[in-house]
Every structure is written in C-alpha cells, then in structure tokens.
C-alpha cells in the first residue's frame, strides 16, 4: 500500500512541529523516519495512524483518502486498518498473550477462525508456547514479539513502528532488528519505522527520510543519504564527516594517507592517536577543524600529515 502525505502541517500550542510536508511512501517498502528526538518523526507517524490530527493537508492510503483538512475527512484510527508497534509495546496487562493478539480481530468482529489466526501470528514470532501467559510474565524481547504479532494478526497492508527497539538491550536490539526486517519482508507489508538510531535506519531500510526540526532534509536510499548528503544536517547526522570548509566535506574512509593519482592533498596537524585494536584513529586539525582518520600505524602528535582525496569523493553542499 502506497502512503501519500500532501502538504501535512501540525502545530502544538501554536508552535509548528511539522512544517508543510510532502512525502510518498512506496508500496512494500521499509521506510525509516530518522532524526534526533523532538524532530517530529513520531508526530508524523501518529498522524499516519490517526492518533494525531494534522492542521492542514491530506493523507492517502493508495487511492483512499484517510485525512483531508479541506474536505473535512478525518478517519479515526480504528478504521484505518494499520498495524502499530509502540515504543513501550503497549501490551494490555490484564489480557493474556492470546487476548492481546486477538483484540483487533474481536474489535472488528472477525471471530471466524480467530484461534487459528492468533496461533499463526504467534507462530510467526516463535511464541507458540506462550499463548496463555500474561505480558508481565514475558521478557522484553518476548513482549516485543507479542506486540508485533498483535500488529500483523489483522493482516494490515502497512505496519507503523514507533522506535520499537529502543526499550531493548543492545544484544537483543541487533537480533530483533534482523528478525523484524525479515518478517516484514516475508509478509510483504509496507513498513514505516521511526528511529533516532542511524545504524538501525541504515541497516533495515529501503528508504530513509531524514527529518530535522519538523522538515524532511533528505529522502533517499541509505546508500545515497550516506554518500551524497543533501544538506549539512544530513552530513553531520549520519556517519563521521571531515569538513574542509563550511560547505565542503568528505567521509573519513574516502581519504588515504598515501598518495593517489589525481587526488587533492591536504596537510593536517596530528593532535593525538587512539589505539582501537584493529588500528588507530588519528585525530587531526585542519584550518581549526577537527578531523579523524583510520590508520594502521600510529602518528606522532604535533607532526604534519598529508591526506589524499579524489575530487569526486569530496561532497560540496
């Protein structure tokens, strides 16, 4: 299902948190809304779900208008037919795993074959044996899986994820990252994934919308967002960047410490080295800007080091 946002704007208490925004989320894509906290990414997601009402604009699911300020259409969340995985999982503590998952089917009075559907959803997330547990009896990862099963049981065309991995510890997060991506791909569902973690966004997404202060800075594939940042914010927010001047930068791994044909040369002063096991991170200073470079060998503090970069690897904004 394709999701289209047209001229969406939202203000809270007179403060505009989403500036007029257009965006098309492709059918069956895994799209991340990436940005620092408070940038408006969660608000955008909640407006798609119908949990917040935009002040202006339109939202289309395929050809179906679910929101239009000018036509006075605002479909309530229960009629949008989406899956949603919440940051705190939002499992209902008074209901068993079975009833948590079955809720959407019961609410829609789709009780035919309910048991089989619930079991199937739980099987997808490998929780077959936990059907009669209460949420409080499950670990964090298991709760996360129940939340996912609950989101897919109604067979929605789109699932929205609101930082679903941030409540898990680092080990589990990596594991669930792969698992969620695989499940979403297998089910062929359009996924919209909100996160502030660039690694999550890069590794899972087909497209990333990089958001800052209520506006989309760049909307592209992860590779392009990294290699060709469209704005200074994009260059700063994702990956490491060494700035030559205010508008010109390169990614550290694109540069070399040994001479390359046709490369530009910069002479930078070494301010320190950090041993990382696999090599060193050299800290440099170039016209009062801090750079970092990876190196197999240590560099002497205070010495001058030549850096070589091919001109096409230098990004001008």
């Amino acid at each position: 299902m394709q999701i289209q946002l047209i001229g969406i704007r939202k203000a809270f208490d007179g403060k505009e948190v989403i500036h007029p925004t257009d965006m098309t989320i492709e059918d069956r894509s895994f799209t991340s809304l990436l940005g620092p906290s408070g940038c408006g990414k969660t608000t955008l997601l909640r407006m798609i779900a119908g949990l917040e009402t935009p002040d202006e604009g339109e939202i289309l699911f395929g050809s179906r208008t679910v929101f239009s300020a000018s036509q006075g259409i605002s479909m309530p969340p229960e009629r949008r037919g989406l899956g949603f995985v919440f940051q705190d999982f939002a499992l209902w503590p008074h209901l068993t795993v079975r009833e948590n998952v079955a809720f959407g089917l019961r609410a829609a009075k789709r009780t035919e074959g309910l048991d089989a559907k619930v079991r199937d959803a739980l099987h997808q997330v490998k929780l077959d044996d936990y059907i009669s547990y209460y949420p409080s009896q499950l670990s964090g990862g298991q709760q996360q899986r129940v939340a996912f099963a609950r989101a897919i049981v109604t067979e929605p065309e789109c699932i929205l994820f609101d930082e679903p991995l941030s409540a898990l510890d680092a080990m589990l997060r990596e594991e669930m990252r792969t698992e969620l991506r695989e499940l979403a791909g297998k089910l062929g569902i359009t996924s919209v994934f909100v996160t502030h973690d660039q690694h999550e966004a890069m590794s899972m997404s087909t497209r990333i919308a990089l958001i800052s202060k209520g506006s989309i800075e760049q909307y592209d594939t992860p590779e392009n967002v990294y290699a060709h940042p469209a704005t200074a914010f994009a260059a700063h927010f994702i990956g490491a960047s060494n700035w030559i001047d205010d508008r010109t930068m390169f990614r550290p791994e694109e540069a070399s410490l040994s001479a390359i044909d046709g490369a530009e040369e910069f002479l930078a002063k070494v301010t320190g080295s950090e041993y990382m096991g696999s090599g060193y991170i050299i800290h440099l200073e170039y016209s009062q800007r801090r750079w970092t470079m990876e190196s197999r060998t240590k560099a002497e503090s205070g010495s001058m080091l030549p850096i070589y970069i091919k001109p096409e690897r230098i990004v001008r904004l």
Binding site: L51, P77, E78, F84, Q87, A90
Partner: protein, 552 residues
C-alpha cells in the same frame, strides 16, 4: 461537539453540588435574615469575646497537637525506616489502626478509662489522682495526638525511605559523625516534608469534631467545630453566626493549604534517580533495640490497647456498679442492641444503606469526574479536578453547614431537606474525592499508548474503554468504593447535623447511648462498628498489596 457538551453538563452539576453549598456559607455570613448585606454582623460575631477566645483555643489546640504528635511520630518514623524495625511490615498495618479508629469512639474509650470510678481506678485505685490531670487541655491534646500521629509518621517514614543511604554514606566518608550527619544531611532534606506534615496535622486537628465534641465538651473546651455545631443545632439556632465562624475556619484552612503548596514547590529535592537505592539500616545495639521496643509498646498501649480495652470491657460489663470483676461479664448487651427496641437495628441498617448508596454514587460520579478531567483541555480539566477535590480540603462540618443552608434555600425545587436523601447528598459531596484520587492514581499507572494501541487495532473509543481502560481502572474504583463505604459508615458530624428527626445512624446511636442512655449498649455498637470497618479496611489493604504484587 458531544464530548464538550457532556463535560459542560458535568461541570455545571459539580458546581451545583459542591460550589453552591460552599458559597451559601459566605453568603449567609454576610447577609442578614431580612436579605440585606450586613458585613458588620459577621465581623461582630467573629470579634465577640467568646468567639475570639474560641478561635485562640482552636489554634492553640492545633499547635499543641502538632507538637505532641511530632514527639510520637518522628522517632517511630526513624525506627521504621532506618533500623531493623523496618523489616516487620506488620507494624505498617498495626499503626494504621489508631488513625482509622473513629475519634469519637477512641475518646469515649479514654473517658471511660480515666473518669472517676472508671476502669483505671478500678484496676489501680492509687492512680485516681490522674483523673483530674486527664480531664484538661493536656488530656484532649494527648487523645487527639494519639489519633493523628500515624498520619505524620507515615509521611515522615516515606520521606526518610526516599533519602538514599548513599547521601548519608557520603557524609560518613567525608568524616561526619552520626549526629553531624543527622543535623547536616538528614534534617535539612526532611524539613520540607515535616513542614507539610505539620500543616496537615494542624488542619486535621482544627477540622476535627469527634474528640472535641466528646472529650472537649466534658472539660468545657470549645473549638471551631463544636461552636459551629452548637449554633447550627442547639436552640437558639443562629445560622448566621455558624456561617461566619465556618467562613473563618475555611479561611484558615485555605491559608494552610496555600502555605503547604508553597513549601512543596520551594522545598522539595528531587531524590529519585539514583539507581542503587539500598535501604541503609542503622545498627541498633541492645540498648537501642530495647528503647525502640519500649517506645513502640508505649505508643501502642496509649493509642490502641487502652481505648480498645476500654470500649470492649464496657460493652461486656453487666452491671456498671460492680465494675471489672469476675462474674460481672456478659454478652447480653450485644443481644439487647437488636432485641430491646428497634433503634439499634434501624441505626445499623440506616448506616449500611447510606454507606452503600453513597459509595456507589461516589464511584460513578468520581469516575466520571476523572474521565472528564482527562478528556477536557488542560485548564478545564484542572478546574474540574479542583472542584472535585474541594471537599477533602475543607472540614466536613463546614460543608455540611453549607449543604444545610443551600438545600434550605432551594427546598421548593429539591425537597431533600429533612429526608434521608439529604444525608446521601451530603455523603456524596464529602466523600467523592476518595474515588477521584483512587481512580486518578490508577490512571497514572496506565500508559497512554495502551488506549492508542486499542484504537489502532480497530477498537472504537467505546470498545477500547470497555475492554481496556475500564478493566485497568476497576481496582481504583473498587478501592474508592470500599473507602467511601467505610468512612461513611462511621461518619458522625453529618449525621448529627442533618439526619431527619428520629433517624439514627450508628455514630449518632453510639453518642446518644453514651451520653444519656446505656453506656454498655453504646459501646457494644461501637465495637461492632469498629470491628466491621477496621477489618474490612485491613482486608482491603491486604488485597490491594497482593494485587499490586501480582500486577508488577
């Protein structure tokens, strides 16, 4: 919009129910019988010599009770938070008992114990000199403190528990001895809490009617509540004076609440955040433990053992003249309660009816208020909540006077005055804050995403309320219902002012029998009342604790 209309209706209803009676007091205080504005009359009432003296004594009483209950509560709070005594959780419940015992019953127990030829002189005739010492301001202060100290104890105990022991350990490592640590670390961190506790104890004391009306009256010590009651209930009835004094009392209470608020904002430290909050216990030596036990036993004796022994013994003594003597004990007063005449039985039934009906209405109304607060905008929500909580901030007697005045005025429209429904209305007004508080606190434990998740999963707002929200706040509603039932069951001041003629409830029955009938009958009813309500309260506490353990 439908939602807005419903919220507006509820707000109007709350204003009618709670604000109008309150305004009636101020109106009555400054408007004389013939309808003209008369501020001088109010000023005259207040500055009448007797009334000025009364205001002075009320404030003196409040201050003395704060002092004495601090002396009792502070050491206990320390024992129960910072020493081995904190491990015995049973103390938490045992020390609830004095606070939960209706003050009029506890003071009747003390009167029966200390009076001339009372239980004490029967047990130890040589101690009869204490009788005169007891029937004095000192005795009144002591009995009121024995009732109210658990409140301050719990507050201070929780405050002490919240101070992480690392703060004290850091002091010790920096070279401070025990005394210096207490003086420089513990006390400054606690001073805000103590000030709040002291103010609340003060407000509770000057609002209290039960003890002053029983023990205070015997020694001729008049305070606000007893004078307000006298002007409103004893001929010659002077509602104007009653209203003027009530207004002054409201003023004092509001001032205290303002100060309390100010202190809460200015002097509270954020002590949460440290991860490792071990409860660091101070090791007590043999002498320390003995002192602890001694103090705990002493406090328990005066706050529980003596009053309870006294009412139970008095209910069992056959002939008062023979006193405590083998062979002079009987259970027949309990039978007499229900066989002699139908007064005892009907009082019990009236109380059961009133508490059950008002608890049910409170549960509904209180839940509606909380729902409205959460669905209205920020400002409107705060206003609705404030109205709903007014009755808890003010002395019951003040509200009851307001209710009398207001329903007298609108008698033609709502003829509730002098019927049992007047009492239901009054109970609902007085006790609706309990439900509001319990339901609000159960809401704070529910993440807003739980309801959002229900909506996204396809539930309509009503379906989500029925399947998710309501089950999750049900425990709060039930707890509120039980609390309201218990408190309403023993309520004295409302019943004594607005019960219809010849209608007795448990509390007024006890007072009447105690003052002019059979003490044994009154005390039998008191035992039944206390037994019923205290047991259900302890059961409730236990059930809530268990439930909480299961949920987390």
């Amino acid at each position: 919009m439908k939602k807005k209309a419903l919220i507006a209706i509820l707000t109007a209803f709350l204003i009618f129910l709670i604000v109008c009676p309150l305004l009636s007091i101020f109106a009555r205080a400054v408007i004389s019988e013939d309808g003209s504005l008369d501020i001088i009359q109010a000023a005259e009432t207040i500055t009448e010599e007797g009334n000025l003296r009364m205001i002075g004594s009320s404030i003196l009483l409040g201050i003395l009770v704060v002092l004495v209950s601090s002396i009792i509560a502070l050491p206990l709070a320390w024992f129960f938070s910072r020493t081995r005594f904190s491990r015995w959780k049973a103390f938490d419940i045992i020390f609830m008992i004095p606070f939960m015992t209706p003050p009029y019953i506890a003071s009747m127990g003390w009167i029966l114990f200390m009076q001339k030829r009372g239980l004490l002189t029967q047990l130890a005739p040589s101690l009869s000199f204490m009788t005169d010492a007891f029937f004095s301001l000192g005795g009144l202060v002591a009995v009121m403190s024995f009732h109210v100290f658990p409140f301050m104890m719990t507050m201070m105990k929780n405050a002490m528990l919240r101070i992480p022991s690392s703060l004290e350990e850091a002091g010790a490592v920096s070279g401070a001895g025990l005394l210096m640590r207490i003086r420089r670390i513990l006390l400054p961190l606690l001073s805000g809490n103590y000030a709040i506790g002291a103010l609340l104890v003060f407000v509770k004391t000057i609002s209290e009617y039960g003890t002053p009306s029983t023990l205070g009256r015997r020694i001729g010590f008049d305070v606000f509540t007893t004078d307000i009651h006298r002007y409103a209930a004893v001929a010659p009835i002077e509602f104007g004076k009653s209203a003027s004094l009530a207004s002054v009392l409201v003023g004092i209470c509001l001032l205290m609440w303002l100060i309390q608020n100010f202190i809460t904002m200015r002097r509270s430290y954020s002590l949460v955040g440290g991860r490792n909050q071990r409860a660091g216990l101070t090791k007590l030596g043999k002498a320390g433990m003995a002192a602890g036990w001694g103090f705990i036993i002493l406090v328990l004796s005066v706050s529980i053992v003596i009053p309870y022994f006294s009412i139970i013994a008095s209910s069992l003594i056959d002939l008062r003249g023979y006193g405590l003597r083998a062979g002079n004990f009987t259970l027949h007063h309990y039978a007499e309660l229900f066989t002699e005449n139908d007064k005892g039985w009907s009082a019990l039934m009236n109380s059961l009816f009133l508490s059950a009906v008002s608890a049910t209405i409170c549960a509904l109304l209180g839940t509606l208020i909380v729902l409205a607060v959460r669905n209205a905008g920020k400002k409107a929500g705060r206003a609705i909540e404030a109205i709903g909580l007014i009755p808890e901030m003010l002395p019951s007697i003040v509200l009851v006077i307001g209710i009398m005045l207001f329903y007298n005025t609108i008698h033609r429209i709502i003829p509730a005055y002098n019927t049992i429904w007047m009492m239901v209305i009054a109970y609902v007004i007085l006790f609706v804050p309990y439900t509001v508080q319990y339901v609000t606190s159960s809401f704070t434990q529910i993440s807003p995403s739980l309801a959002a998740a229900g909506r996204v999963a396809g539930g309509t707002p009503f379906y989500v309320f029925r399947r998710i929200t309501l089950p999750l706040i049900m425990r709060g509603i039930m707890t509120g219902w039980m609390m309201t039932f218990i408190i309403a069951f023993r309520e004295l001041v409302t019943a004594s002012l607005i019960a219809p003629p010849d209608t007795l409830v448990v509390s007024t029955y006890i007072v009447r029998e105690f003052e002019q009938g059979s003490v044994a009958l009154g005390m039998s009813m008191a035992v039944i009342c206390v037994f019923l309500t205290t047991t259900s309260l302890i059961l409730l506490n236990w059930a809530v604790d268990r439930g909480r353990g299961k949920a987390s």
